[in-house]
Subunit: 137 residues, 2 copies
Amino acid sequence: MRKSSKEVQREGPKLTRQRSVVLDVVRKSEDHLSASEVYESARRLLPTISYATVYNSLRYLKDAGLVSEITFGNAASRYDGKTVRHDHAICTGCGKIVDFHITESAELMRAAARHSRFKPDSIHLTLRGLCPGCRSD
Amino acid sequence: MRKSSKEVQREGPKLTRQRSVVLDVVRKSEDHLSASEVYESARRLLPTISYATVYNSLRYLKDAGLVSEITFGNAASRYDGKTVRHDHAICTGCGKIVDFHITESAELMRAAARHSRFKPDSIHLTLRGLCPGCRSD
DNA sequence: ATCTGGAATTAGAATTATTCTAAATATGAA
DNA sequence: TTCATATTTAGAATAATTCTAATTCCAGAT
């Protein structure tokens, strides 16, 4: 066997059955699921899937840019099928997470880079407050 | 004993020895310490202090508005003696956290509130990128 | 059709951060 | 002093996530 032939097409099965099930679960969900919620749903579609595989798949998909991970405080990570840049609002009443999009994010990132002296990569903003449901308590 | 008399001056020892040691440690530190780093330092000043007390104190101080807690990804929380509103840049190279301050935060919060329909409470932005040290690799 | 090597999956153990529990201690008022 | 309450302590418990080692899968080579 020649080295070159192996090197050229060294592609394992990238989007395996379990990874695509995990991707489906995240994409089909309206809200932002935690890893254990993903596991529960994935198990309905593929009962033999393991917890570790859910974590591995989420990481793989995140690295591949197919899902994004959101973290708030010390709560469990949540996963989002929406991969275009956007921001999050979290309700201090019920914990609900809502996506929103700020139009001036590019200027904002430049301003932040200027103030911090960092070479910017991405910016994310988090609004904390009461969601429409909780503001009318 | 009358109820009223108790209600009026129901004040325990608010800033105990251990709490003020924890506060000192957080305030004196240049960078943003994790709970275990706070514990290590606090122990040098008060060797009998326990891990649980460090956590309890950090929570107490946070609720009292004397320290603030920052979280990134699934890493351990870090604590900041700076309590005026500010933002954070995190280096994707070395993990270093740097404070900065965006001047237009009030408008930004209004814009975020408008887009998310939340009743705003606070806003925080996170810049991800390379710190001055790491950008010249 | 079988072999083989690397990648992926599995189950469960291990790790890490944090919180909880119950007993002991300190504090300040009566 | 005594009492009630708040705090501290040590260690157990919990929760999220990662690691480990054994097994399985798959594509390409034989």
